[in-house]
């Protein structure tokens, strides 16, 4: 399947370029089988998820010494490969790992050492570590590079556009499909007036908001929102349920940004972390199930701004750290593996940790992004997406091969 899928991607990309004339796509688009374009979902764990609790280095004795009160009890982790194990509440995702549909990248991170949430998030979402002059999201640059400049190509499942999607290509931001409806009377007449008014505004910011809104109202009314799986009632569950409906309806969504807030556990981590993890794992498992065969063309990439301090702090929590973990679900992954630079765990001792206190980031997060854009989204040259960074397939972590 991977080979034929990739072959199709090249064709699809070429035909998009051929029909880049405004308004031409809907009418002139060649007939094709529904649901073959690849979709990338960037799921951001805000606050700095504790990588060492999510994917436990159970084979490293330093872990247990550094976490006397908040460690995942030895033996309770869900064994992945003889060294690492999932947090027990990742159980809903274990079958996907075992089936080769989920791959983990451990000890990944940024070359910039900031422990500020907001700088670290920006650096990652703009794929520009240490550079505050770059304010365009990596996914927005991808849209430009791939020629996916139609607003429907990308959506944030929130009221506000994710920073990873901000930039010159207009994208959509919607929390709830069920609320995308105009209330009251004389809807058609008012809708027409709004479209005319906003269509005449020179400011692209307001013009896009108004005209996209009107178009989206029409689109959403055609989407069947019935899920084929049971989601948690959390914000994450709702967002992924809405997203699955859009992907299954194949309306043209190719990139989506989803947030999962509240991973900043400076205190009482044993109370908070398991709840967050359960929500994450059960929401994602429902999403993967709901997508059905569309999971073959959909890749979820889960990321966070940094991991947390190796040693727990005095409040049953962990302070901001450095190296972290990412994982990918779906698509044509060669999953069922925990991937690391040179297949080497950097260790948790003072000699090999970042500044002697935090997990090192041996895989640059941009290499993960670049591999996903190249091998899942079919972008032949990801270089324009990554300013001041040399993209080289030999540095890809190897999620697909």
């Amino acid at each position: 399947m991977p080979l034929s899928r990739r072959a199709f991607l090249k064709t699809a990309t070429a035909s998009l370029a051929a029909f880049a004339t405004p308004g031409a796509l809907l009418h002139a688009r060649p007939a094709r089988a529904a649901g073959t374009d690849p979709v990338l979902v960037a799921l951001y764990l805000r606050g700095g998820c504790d990588a060492l609790s999510l994917v436990v280095p159970a084979g490293d004795p330093i872990y247990y010494g550094a976490r006397p009160t908040i460690r995942v009890a030895a033996g309770s982790e869900l064994a992945l490969d003889g060294f690492f194990g999932f947090h027990p509440n990742m159980a809903p995702l274990l079958p996907f790992y075992q089936a080769g549909r989920l791959a983990v990248v451990h000890a990944c991170g940024s070359p910039d050492g900031t422990r500020s949430h907001f700088d670290a998030q920006d650096f990652m979402e703009f794929a520009a570590p240490g550079n505050k002059n770059i304010q365009v999201g990596w996914l927005n640059r991808f849209l430009s590079a791939a020629g996916l400049t139609q607003p429907i190509s990308a959506i944030t499942l929130e009221n506000q556009t994710a920073k990873a999607l901000t930039g010159p290509v207009s994208t959509l931001a919607v929390t709830s499909l069920s609320r995308m409806t105009m209330q009251g009377t004389y809807v058609a007449e008012r809708r027409q007036a709004i479209q005319t008014i906003f269509g005449s505004i020179p400011s692209p910011l307001l013009n896009a908001m108004g005209t996209n809104t009107v178009d989206l109202l029409d689109l959403v009314s055609t989407v069947d929102a019935t899920p084929a799986a049971t989601y948690p009632s959390s914000n994450l569950g709702k967002a992924l349920q809405n997203l699955a409906a859009l992907i299954k309806a194949d309306v043209g969504v190719r990139v989506a940004a989803v947030n999962h807030a509240s991973w900043d556990h400076h205190a009482y981590q044993l109370q908070h972390f398991p709840v967050m993890t359960n929500d994450l794992a059960s929401s994602l498992a429902a999403f993967a199930t709901d997508l059905g065969s569309d999971l073959d063309r959909t890749l979820v990439l889960v990321m966070t701004e940094f991991g947390r301090r190796v040693s727990e702090n005095g409040a049953g929590g962990t302070d901001h750290g450095h190296g972290s973990v990412m994982f990918a679900l779906g698509g044509a992954l060669a999953g069922g593996r925990v991937v690391m630079r040179n297949d080497q765990w950097p260790g948790l001792g003072p000699a090999t940790t970042f500044e002697g206190i935090d997990l090192a980031g041996t895989t640059d997060f941009r290499d993960v992004f670049a591999e996903v854009l190249s091998r899942h989204m079919g972008l032949s040259d990801p270089s324009p997406v990554f300013p001041n960074f040399s993209v080289s397939p030999s540095n890809f972590p190897g999620l697909f091969v």
């Binding site: 422990r115 009221n159 506000q160 007036a193 307001l206 996209n212 989206l216």
Partner: protein, 500 residues
């Protein structure tokens, strides 16, 4: 496959905003310019014009109106405050009293732990709409958002209200240092950023071994004072955390408690060094007090705060000349916020056409400005409904999760989902469904006269010819009884009413 409208698939131009103006104004004569200036002031330093503020600024002139807003003690809000105290008694309670009253869920839904958040939200909405002290309300919102506490975190459930009322409001025209200290000692903040569990290494507190926790220390530097580029190191973060060790929450049933306690046995008594400030050993609570003073008076803090204030009141990015002037005022006055804000509000840039309509109204501003424009006839119902609508637009009050608060950036507030919520709110408001009593000035019979009258009533700064033409077309196609409310609803959802 579902059908996708052609325009969603068509290429759209760049959405990044380089300049300040989002929407050009119509050409106008001197009288109109004067009116535009007044309306801009009301839109910028408050939650938009209402009949009282329009009359007041016409009587006093722009400069004197601003001066009165900077010294608002003579403005009479007593009826409003009495009403809020009666509708929402929790807003008058000390921290300890609120905690003892609402902490234990008794089965009576009106006594549960969510009541303080609900009632404080309603009170905030009513003040935004009805207070004559409009600038004070805007500044209280600005500073709450600057420090930000998520009101459902532990002690913040009661502490967020006293943070707004006791730590922020008394100081919005005072010294920043005093506000920063009061916030640092607020139990909501202490829990939200974990300083309540920040103790010297290996200290046993309430039966649990504790240690240094960096969370508050990092954010007081990064977000509250010098900013992330303010020139501090990881070592400074550590030293600040040691300085504040032992600042914790006084968990008590004492109904007069403000919730702060310095627990000296848990304080790290060693000497410390913070960004050029040397703190000798054994000074207890004075470590934190001195760190607050030191950080408050640093030039980095002056520029960081001035920039944020200018971004709120003028444009994004803010004009550098005003940022510099405000920072100089701040430094020359020892961090006096009235003087700093005065420099900004009396700057010509405040009403300079170059920055006209430069910002998208945040949800609370949009909602409150509708209430002020249309008149509210049922305060409690209005506050109740508006709280949910502000939430749907993405600005759930007192509930920003990250310690940055909500971003004060236009592009953050222009999502399609959020805009549909504004369209629907404007429609309901114009039809009297929301505790509004829409009073429309009697319009003439023609579509042009209707649009003209509504524009004069609601958007005195003018609308673009394209907007006017589209509204006239709409009005022409409607039956007589529907013309005014439907046209008004569309005008209130038009871009001219989304920006300020």
């Amino acid at each position: 496959m579902a059908s996708t409208p052609a325009s969603l698939r068509a290429r759209r131009a760049a959405i990044l905003v380089a300049g300040a103006v989002l929407l050009a104004g119509a050409a106008c004569n001197d009288l109109q310019k004067q009116q535009q200036r007044r309306e801009t002031v009301l839109n910028r330093i408050g939650y938009g014009p209402d009949p009282w503020s329009r009359q007041r600024i016409a009587e006093l002139g722009v400069a004197a109106y601003i001066e009165e807003q900077l010294n608002p003690s003579a403005l009479d809000d007593s009826a409003l405050e009495a009403q809020i105290a009666s509708l929402y008694p929790v807003t008058t309670m000390a921290y300890g009293q609120s905690r003892t009253t609402f902490h234990e869920y008794t089965g009576n839904p009106e006594m549960g732990p969510f009541i303080p958040l609900r009632d404080g939200t309603h009170a905030k909405i009513l003040r935004a709409v009805k207070s004559k002290k409009q600038l004070e309300q805007v500044l209280v919102d600005f500073w709450y958002n600057h420090f930000n506490v998520d009101a459902l975190i532990e002690e913040a459930r009661w502490g967020y209200l006293t943070m707004e009322r006791d730590a922020i409001r008394p100081h919005v025209f005072g010294k920043f240092e005093d506000m920063l200290r009061a916030v640092a000692q607020n139990p909501g903040m202490l829990d939200y950023l974990d300083n309540s569990v920040n103790f010297k290494t290996d200290f046993v507190y309430l039966g649990t071994k504790r240690g240094i926790n960096e969370n508050y220390a990092r954010e007081i530097l990064e977000l509250h004072t010098v900013g992330v580029d303010g020139g501090y190191s990881q070592q400074d973060v550590r030293e600040v955390a040691r300085a504040f060790s032992g600042w914790t929450v006084a968990v008590t049933t004492n109904s007069t408690s403000n919730g702060f306690m310095f627990y000296s046995p848990g304080h790290d008594r060693g000497a410390k060094s913070v960004m050029g400030l040397e703190l000798p050993a054994n000074r207890g609570q004075m470590d934190g007090i001195d760190v607050i003073r030191h950080l408050s008076l640093l030039p980095q803090t002056a520029y960081f705060l001035s920039r944020k204030l200018c971004q709120r009141f003028i444009s994004e990015p803010p004009p550098q000349r005003v940022v510099d002037a405000a920072a100089q005022t701040y430094l020359a006055t020892g961090g006096d916020l009235r003087e700093t804000v005065r420099t900004i509000l009396l700057s010509p840039e405040l009403t300079d056409p170059a920055y006209f309509r430069g910002k998208v109204k945040r949800p609370l501003v949009y909602v409150a400005s509708l209430g002020r424009a249309l008149g509210v006839n049922d305060d409690h119902w209005f506050a109740y409904v508006m709280a949910t609508r502000v939430s749907q637009m993405g600005e759930t009050l007192f509930r920003a999760g990250p310690p940055t608060g909500y971003p004060d950036v236009s592009r953050y507030w222009v999502g399609e989902g959020a805009y549909v919520a504004r369209i629907n709110l404007a429609w309901e408001a114009a039809h009297g469904n929301l505790g509004f009593a829409p009073q429309f000035d009697a319009p003439g019979p023609t579509p042009a006269e209707v649009v003209n009258q509504l524009q004069k009533q609601f958007i005195k700064t003018g609308i673009r010819p394209e907007t006017r033409a589209a509204l006239e077309t709409l009005a022409r196609g409607l039956p007589p009884g529907a013309v005014v409310p439907q046209t008004a609803a569309t005008l209130l959802a038009s871009p001219e009413n989304l920006v300020h």
